[in-house]
Amino acid sequence: MSEPLVFMMGKFEARIPVDRTYFESHFWAVPHGDVFRVGFTSYAVRLLQDVYFLDWSIDADTQVRKKQSIGEIESSKAVSTMYAPADGHVIRFNEALLNDPSLINADNYDKGWLYEFSTTQPLLSPDEYVKVLEAGWDQTQRLLKNQFNE
C-alpha cells in the first residue's frame, strides 16, 4: 500500500490514506461490497479526541439528504451533531461502536468505521481532501482557539 498523505495539525500528523475517497465533512469512504464504509478521518478524530458517546437519530436502512442530521457524538473535547455527508442511503451502522465508541480512537480507518452508505454523488480524492484541509485550517484553528497548535 502506498504511503499515506500527511496533513500537519500544528505538530500532530494527520494521516490521510490514499486507498480511499473522502467527503469534505471529514469522513473517509472505502468500497465494501457494493457500498461504502464511512468513518472519521484522523483530522476529525484529532479534533474530537476521546469519544465517549455516539448516538444515531435515524434507523438503519434510511434514505438521507446531504446535511440531514443523523446522530450525535460527544468526546472529551467536543460535542457535535453528525450530518449525512451526501444524498444517499444509510444501510447499517457499526454495531461494535455502540458498545465501545473508543474504537473510533483506536482504529479510525478500519474497525472504527461508522456506517455503510451508498451514494452516487462524487467524492474527493486524497489529494483533493488534503487541499480542503489546507484551505480550512486557519478557520478551524480560530474555532478551536488555537488549542491544537502546540
Binding site: S25, L47, K66, K67, K77, A78, V79, S80, M82, A84
Partner: protein, 385 residues
C-alpha cells in the same frame, strides 16, 4: 416580616416529573412558612393562553414580581410581555451564575445587540425577576435569592397590611382570599389540594389562626395539618403548545420572519411592530423563523438548542467545542429552508425551497439618505428607455 414580602409565581414544569414537582413544592412551602413571599403556582407558563386563569392571575398582580419556571429567563420574560404581564427586567444573581460560565467576551456584543432592539411597549415601573429552575436542584438556592430580592425591593407600601402586595391586586382573582373561585375549575388537582387551599390562603395572608377561608371552602381542616403547596391556579392539565416568542430587546422590526413564515403566524400591530399574532398556526417542532432572524430575537422556549430556546449567549455546551460546522452542519438558512419545506409538505402543500421569503440581510442596515446617484437612477427609470 411583612415589610419584605415579595410576590412569587412558580410556573410548573410541563409533564409530571416528580423531581421537578418536588422542587416546586419545596420552594413554595418554605417561602410560605418563612413568610417571605406571597406564593402562587400556575401551570407551565409557555402553554398558557392569554385567557387562561393562570395568566389572568399573573396579569392581576401589581408590584415587583419573581417568576420561577423551567425556561430560560429571556423566555419567561418575553412570554409574560406578550401576554401583557409587563415590567422592567430584574437582575437575579442566579441568572448571573449561569452567565458566569459563558465566555466573558460574549457580553459586550450582546449588550450592543440589546440596544438595537425596538424594545417593549408600555412598560410600567416595576421589576420582573425571571429565574430558571434548571439552575439548581437545591431549593435553598432559590429561597436565599428570593429573600435577597425581597429585602432589595421592599417598599413602605407593603407594610400597610398583612395582605402586603395584594392590597393592590384584585382580590376576586386571588387564590389566597377566594379559594373557591380559583380552585373550582381545577378538578385535576384532586381533593387534597383543594381542601388545603383555605389553609394555604390563610398563610399567604399572614393569618396563622384558622381564618374564615376554611369556612368558605366548607371543609373543617384540622389546625395541625402541615402546610402544603398552593393549588395550581387554573388547574394543572394544560395542552402543550409550540409558538415563537419575540425578544423585543433584540428585535429590529426587520420583518424577515413575517416574510419567511408561510403559515400565517406573524402579523403587525397598530404601530407596525412585528407581532406573533396567530401563535397556534405555528408548526410543532419547527424553529425555522428563529434561524432566519438576523439578531436571534425569536425564541422557541422548548427547542433543544439553547440558542433557540432563549439562552443568553447562544449554544451553551459546557466547555466543549461544537464541531458540527466542521462535520457538515447546514447553515442556519439551509436548515430553516429544510424545516419549512418539511412542514409545507406535511400540510399537503408544495415545498418552496429557497424561492420564497429569503432574508434580505441588507434591509437591516440603516437607510442611507438619498444622494445624487439615486436621483440620477430614478431619472433614468422615468425616461422609460
Amino acid at each position: 416580616m411583612a415589610g419584605r414580602k415579595i410576590t412569587v409565581v412558580i410556573s410548573q414544569a410541563p409533564g409530571k416529573n416528580p423531581v421537578k414537582r418536588h422542587l416546586e413544592e419545596e420552594i413554595a412551602t418554605r417561602l410560605m412558612l418563612s413568610g417571605t413571599a406571597e406564593v402562587s403556582v400556575v401551570p407551565h407558563l409557555y402553554d398558557l393562553t392569554s385567557d387562561h386563569t393562570g395568566m389572568l392571575w399573573l396579569k392581576s398582580l401589581r408590584g415587583n414580581l419573581v417568576v420561577l419556571g423551567w425556561l430560560y429567563p429571556r423566555a419567561i420574560r418575553w412570554v409574560l410581555d406578550r401576554n401583557g404581564v409587563k415590567g422592567k427586567e430584574g437582575s437575579s444573581r442566579l441568572n448571573r451564575l449561569e452567565d458566569a460560565d459563558a465566555d466573558d467576551q460574549d457580553h459586550p456584543p450582546e449588550e450592543a445587540a440589546e440596544s438595537r432592539g425596538i424594545g417593549a411597549l408600555d412598560v410600567p415601573n416595576r421589576l420582573i425577576y425571571a429565574i430558571d429552575l434548571r439552575n439548581d436542584s437545591d431549593p435553598e438556592i432559590y429561597i436565599k435569592e428570593i429573600e435577597r430580592l425581597a429585602d432589595l425591593t421592599s417598599v413602605p407600601l407593603v407594610q400597610l397590611g398583612f395582605g402586603g402586595i395584594q392590597l393592590t391586586a384584585q382580590p376576586e382573582n386571588s387564590p389566597a382570599t377566594n379559594g373557591a373561585g380559583t380552585s373550582s375549575d381545577s378538578t385535576a388537582n384532586g381533593a387534597s389540594a383543594h381542601s388545603h387551599n383555605g389553609d394555604t390562603g390563610s398563610v399567604i395572608s399572614g393569618i396563622f389562626s384558622n381564618g374564615n377561608s376554611n369556612g368558605a371552602n366548607g371543609h373543617a381542616e384540622a389546625p395541625t395539618l402541615p402546610i402544603t403547596s398552593p393549588a395550581v391556579i387554573g388547574g394543572g392539565d394544560v395542552r402543550r403548545r409550540w409558538y415563537p416568542v419575540i425578544d423585543y430587546s433584540r428585535c429590529t422590526n426587520c420583518m424577515e420572519c413575517i416574510d419567511f413564515c408561510l403559515f400565517g403566524v406573524y402579523g403587525v400591530d397598530h404601530a407596525d411592530r412585528i407581532l406573533v399574532e396567530e401563535q397556534d398556526n405555528c408548526k410543532k417542532g419547527c424553529p425555522a423563523c428563529s434561524r432566519v432572524c438576523p439578531v436571534n430575537a425569536i425564541i422557541f422556549p422548548e427547542h433543544k438548542t439553547p440558542g433557540i430556546a432563549g439562552a443568553d449567549g447562544g449554544p451553551v455546551e459546557d466547555f466543549k467545542i461544537d464541531l458540527s460546522k466542521l462535520f457538515g452542519a447546514p447553515s442556519a438558512l439551509e436548515m430553516a429552508v429544510l424545516e419549512r419545506d418539511q412542514e409545507l409538505v406535511a400540510d399537503g402543500r408544495e415545498a418552496v425551497g429557497t424561492a420564497v421569503g429569503l432574508p434580505k440581510r441588507q434591509t437591516c442596515q440603516p437607510e442611507k439618505a438619498r444622494d445624487e446617484l439615486d436621483d440620477l437612477m430614478d431619472g433614468l427609470d422615468s425616461l422609460d428607455l
